[in-house]
């Protein structure tokens, strides 16, 4: 199985972005391409960034998580990339909905920073063909 290396992370809150970045890079040893909004992620993908996995915040101004996902799917670089949503709203109905639009998993906020990378890796491995 392919090793998880490059993760595209879209999160509008800079503090959370910083914490997650440390959790994933420093603790988890992953490479992160952090974006502050959906448009930035689209631009990056269009500019040739090909992530192994996309971590998407759900609630974002302008383009929210699901909208960003829909747009990313139209780009060749991210047409099939596995996606994990991160959200404060973890209700059963919502998890079902996110999975129905193609997410391989949902991670609840607040997350455990020391375990985040492990959580992401586990979901990625479970979804791998």
């Amino acid at each position: 199985m392919r090793e998880l290396k490059l993760v595209m992370y879209v999160e509008d809150d800079p503090d959370i972005q910083m914490v997650a970045q440390m959790a994933l890079e420093v603790v988890g040893g992953l490479t992160l391409r952090a974006c502050s909004c959906g448009q930035e992620a689209l631009a990056a993908a269009a500019a040739g960034v090909v992530p192994d996995l996309i971590l998407l915040d759900v609630m974002m101004p302008d383009l929210d998580g699901p909208a960003t996902l829909a747009a990313l799917r139209k780009l060749p670089a991210t047409a099939t990339t596995p996606v994990i949503f991160m959200t404060a709203k973890v209700q059963a109905a919502e998890v079902t909905y996110y999975k129905s639009i193609g997410a391989i998993g949902v991670i609840a906020k607040p997350f455990d920073p020391m375990a985040l990378a492990e959580q992401v890796r586990t979901l990625w491995q479970q979804a791998a063909p």
Binding site: I16, A88, P110, D112, P113
Partner: protein
Amino acid sequence: LLEPRDPADEFDRLSALCRLNLLDTPSDDRFDRITRTAQRLFQVPIALVTLVDSNRQWFKSRAGLDAVETPRRVAFCAHAILTDDPFIVEDTAADARFADNPLVTGAPYVGFYAGMPLHDTTGWRVGTLCVIDHVARSMSASDIAALRDLALWAETELNLYSLKRATETSRENESRLRAIVEHAGDAIVSIDDQGIIETFNPAAQRVFGYRAEEIIGRSVMLLAARHHRAGMQQDLAALAHEGIKGVKALNRQVFAQRRNGERFPANLVVSEMRVNERRAFTGLVRDISQRRRSTDDVKRANRRLAETLVLQQAIFDSTNYAIIAVDLQGQVSMFNDGAQRMLGYTEAEMQEQGSLAVLHEPQELAARGAALALELGHPIAAPADAIVARARDGQRDESEWTYVCKDGSTLPVMLSVTAVWDEHTLAGFVVIAQDLSERKKIEQLKNEFISTLSHELRTPLTSIRGSLGLLAGGAAGAFPAPARVLLDIANKNCDRLVRLINDILDVEKIESGSMRFDAVVQPLLPLIEQAVAATNAYADQFQVSFDLRSDAGDMLAAVDADRLLQVVVNLLSNASKFAPSGDVVEVRLRRLAGVARVSVIDHGVGIPDTFRERIFQKFAQADATDSRQKGGTGLGLNISRAIVEKHGGTIDFNSVPGKRTEFYFDLPLVAVQPIE
């Protein structure tokens, strides 16, 4: 035949005749003596004392005649009373006036007639004394004189007799009147024109409490209530002066007063009489206090009824509720203003519908009908019957429905359906609909607010928890020991804050009914194992371990795995927190009658019995300080109970403080194999 003419002033003559009180009275010897004397004196077969009535002559005395009376038009006497002279027909057969008279041609075969008019005291000729022979004869002057003498005798008897009769009659009338007065239910008081009481009947004595002898001769004022006396004084003056015309109301309500001072409402009717050319008055007094009281009762009842009606009308006119009455056939008989406003139909339009179905979505009616058929154990006949089926079976029914308005729009409503009974027969139903749109809107707002709040709180918490976690985890390098202690405190409390927010959200979801339960039939043991595995690390902190045993093999129950896990984890972590260090917490899965019991048993301080009542309530912990020391939220058991009850189960505990505390919940077992 010559018929007799009427005398002048016949009406007055007849009145005088009636005043004699003689007509149709029994025969009397005093008159019979006269006719017998006449019979002998004149040697005639028939002698009569006759009274000429309006259309007959009636015989007060009849010597030699059987008939009691004869018609006036053939009566000789009717001619005799026309003058004061004697009326003599010596030979009837030779007299053209009488030759064909039936009394001449037939019985009693009058051949001769001689009559003398009889006068009453005022001179009216009321009848005759007459003698009759079957053959013609003549009357000499002395005969006529003799007849006149006999007639005067008869007149004297007539008037004496009449006077006696009149006296008797008046005495009779008086005693009759007295009987009436004595036995009257109403008080009858007569007064003179000065207001002095003259008579006081027994009823008056009963009503007023005075004996007749003590009140007669005293002023009638004594009988009036004090506040009525001034008015009565005026009335008496008017009565004395002008008689009854001077008093405005002859029949009216007054306040009277009894001897003991008690006042009472009475009806008074006053009439005037003339006694010895003086005015006197009779008052008829009826005590109506009883009637007033019952009238008051009726008034009170009416007032209550009116209040109830006003209340009903107010409810009925209420804008917020639609009130609809239907008969057994579903025909709408009432559709109040509220219903018209809520639904857009007029009462007339609804009455044309003949069913309530038009207000409902057909699919909802069908679905509800199917569910009710199962619940009630009998089919639901018509779609609209689903609305009233429970009420028809005598049950209370309050359920949420969707109403469809005339314009096609829909609104959520709470329908209360009540059966209406006419005596013991079901007559129809009343449906009261409350518009829930506003409530739903508010509920939604509240849910959105809590949801938003949780998200808004979680965003900063995510940064804080993340930062603290990274620091505590050493991702930013090592810290000196005091800083580590502080960091651990911050980290631990941050975790607690997160749990608190999660629990509050859970409670809100449970209370609003928005918590989803996806019940799937599955074996219980793996879930318990999973819960134990998830809590092991937590229990380690307290040096507590779990001992899981199941003696019942695979037990199946319909459960929402995540929620049930939440319950078991809650019980396990509670046990960990409260168990003494080194304790082995027993986790048992057992089969009881129809249920699976999951028990978590620790050997800690236990729970005092006084706390039993509150332990499943929100923010309840036996020792208020425990919450902080043990890091709990005070919501765990409350949430657990709600989840267990949602699964149709029960949760409880038994505790021997210091020895053994068992928390357990029972879930209904499912017999079938899980669907693979």
